[in-house]
Amino acid sequence: MTITPDYYLVLAAMIFTIGAIGFLVRRSVLIMFMCVELMLNAATLSLVAYAQALDNISGQTIVFFVLVVAAAEVAVGLAIIVAIFRRKRGATADDIDLLKG
């Protein structure tokens, strides 16, 4: 059997859903951040699948930019997490409610 890009799209949708559910369910900030990475990866996978299906290299180029943005996001996000943990050790997402008033 041949693997058409549809298989990749379905797989990407499943990984994205797992990441989204994990982001909603887990309370540890680090795990939530990893779930964001999962969702980003699912999106890049679907972009590359579309790039091959439509014979358009722009999909792969955009994935390149997504990787750059993901790297920047991880650097800033982990710095924020470290800053939060300096204030509140062992904080979960529920403990960070400064804006709640």
Binding site: I3, L24, M34, N41, A51, I57, L67, A75, V82
Partner: protein
């Protein structure tokens, strides 16, 4: 052969993704994330995106995950955080919305009207000049301006990360590096 590789690594990718969500220990979650990232790199190879497969392994599976592990090491593994949610309605709600999202995305991928482009299933002709050259021509040709902006973005991110990691909040003392991390009251 391609189908065999695809299904094997699809199982690995899904297992890794589930591992990130279900595992209690953050270190194990990071390692599960590596499994998924490497599988995605294999999918890139199958989709004839060789450059992206290499970049995926180098940037994602190495650099980003190592950064995660460094932060986990810095903060310490906290096993006391329970997986149970204080709000009982949150988890079923999240599962419901998750499967709604999955159904929605699967529905949209089969549609033509979303992008105006033909639906999938067609093959791809051989690339002229190899994948790296094609992507490079695209990046340094059509996408030169976005490429320059990413350079600025990376500089801003690095500066921001340094500033955030060293930030002292109003009314809080500077965390002394010589002080042991476990000292109580150091972060009040």
């Amino acid at each position: 052969m391609e189908a065999f590789v695809f299904f094997v690594f699809a199982v690995v990718a899904l297992a890794g993704a589930l591992g990130v969500v279900l595992v209690r220990n953050p270190v194990h979650a990071a390692l599960s994330l590596v499994a998924t990232l490497i599988s995605v790199a294999v999918f890139f190879l199958l989709l004839e995106a060789q450059l992206l497969a290499g970049v995926q392994v180098i940037v994602y599976a190495s650099a980003i995950v190592v950064l995660f592990l460094f932060v986990i090491m810095l903060l310490g593994v906290d096993e006391s955080i329970s997986l149970d949610d204080p709000r009982p309605y949150q988890r079923p709600l999240a599962l419901g919305f998750g499967f709604l999202l999955l159904a929605e995305v699967l529905f949209l991928t089969g549609q033509t009207w979303v992008t105006g482009l033909p639906s999938l299933g067609s093959g791809l002709g051989p690339e002229a000049g190899g994948n790296v050259e094609t992507v490079a021509r695209s990046i340094f040709g059509d996408y030169l301006w976005p490429f320059e902006i990413t350079a600025i973005l990376l500089v801003i991110a690095v500066v921001g990360a340094v500033v955030l990691a060293r930030q002292t909040f109003a009314g809080s003392p500077v965390v002394d590096e010589k002080q042991p991390e476990e000292s109580p009251g150091g972060s009040t």
